[in-house]
């Protein structure tokens, strides 16, 4: 079975209850042909375990890395990924769209 949004959000609460640092990454804006609509989310815990998706798998790796920073700092971040993005991991969306992903820590 795929993880549904409610399973993803429940996992976030469960991980937090188990004492792990948790971040929530949510697609907030999309331009052009984007793989997942606004509202799609990925939850990440401090071990780097994640559930859900914000793209078709193109940028999840980079989002997880940024999320670990957000878990450590507690400060939310806005990430942008486009096809022309030149990041350290050289990630981008092969579909040609651009997405903005808001990453926030779950605060107890």
């Amino acid at each position: 079975m795929l993880n549904r949004d409610e399973d993803i959000l429940k996992a976030a609460a469960d991980w937090q209850a188990a004492g792990r640092g948790v971040a929530l990454a949510t697609v907030v804006e999309t331009w052009g042909s984007a793989p997942r609509p606004a509202g799609s989310s990925l939850v990440i815990n401090e071990d780097g375990t994640f559930l859900g998706s914000v793209s078709g798998g193109c940028v999840e790796g980079a989002v997880v890395t940024e999320a670990l920073d957000v878990i450590a700092s507690g400060t939310p971040k806005m990430l942008e990924f486009g096809v022309a993005d030149e990041t350290a991991w050289n990630v981008g969306l092969s579909c040609g769209g651009t997405i903005r992903v808001y990453v926030e820590k779950v605060m107890s």
């Binding site: 949004d5 907030v28 606004a38 779950v106």
Partner: protein
Amino acid sequence: MKLQTLALLNAERAARRAVVVVTDVASGEQRLVKAAEIASDPLHAALAKQLRMGKSAMIEADGHRLFLNVHAPTARLVIIGAVHISQALAPMARALDYDVTVIDPRTAFASPERFPDVPLIAEWPEVALPPLNVDAYTAFVAVTHDPKIDDPALLHAFERACFYIGALGSRKTHAKRGERLKAMGASDADIARIRAPIGLNIGAVSPSEIAVSIMAEITATLRMPKDLTA
């Protein structure tokens, strides 16, 4: 997100109530608005619009960029009739993330052997339906072909404003069904809501193909702009 916001969000979702989480993406400030509280919210017009469309979106309000994250309840499919089509339809709907319930008072049909892993209620619709809290996030399908079972179930679906209502039967069968439902108190508008013959016309023949056509029609009703599905 505060843990208590997350807990409230999960509780509302579990209770099948829609909520919108409003986030100021510059400050990180966040609040949760329950569907019942939208009317009295300062952002009520924008909140109501996004909820109606079932779409999350970024908006501008008083110079702030706000993300409205719409959390609508998980779509549900209620199938009246544990028939051959339903044996194909139930697992297909589950693969599409629907919560599925099958109802049929005929225990020979409603058996766990025929429906492994699907919640199954071997009761008449009048008994089975009220506790289910059928709602506007529910697709409702009546496929027993037996008026004693389908008709009262359809009346319940009208009352609960299901987003999709479909019933098995030819045009002729459906015309007769319309007359019966009217005699039972249904309005013309109610009857016009029933998709019959059920499913998109893809020339489906086998039970599995009919299930595909029903699931495609439900998906179209859920996702297409309203003026394109009629």
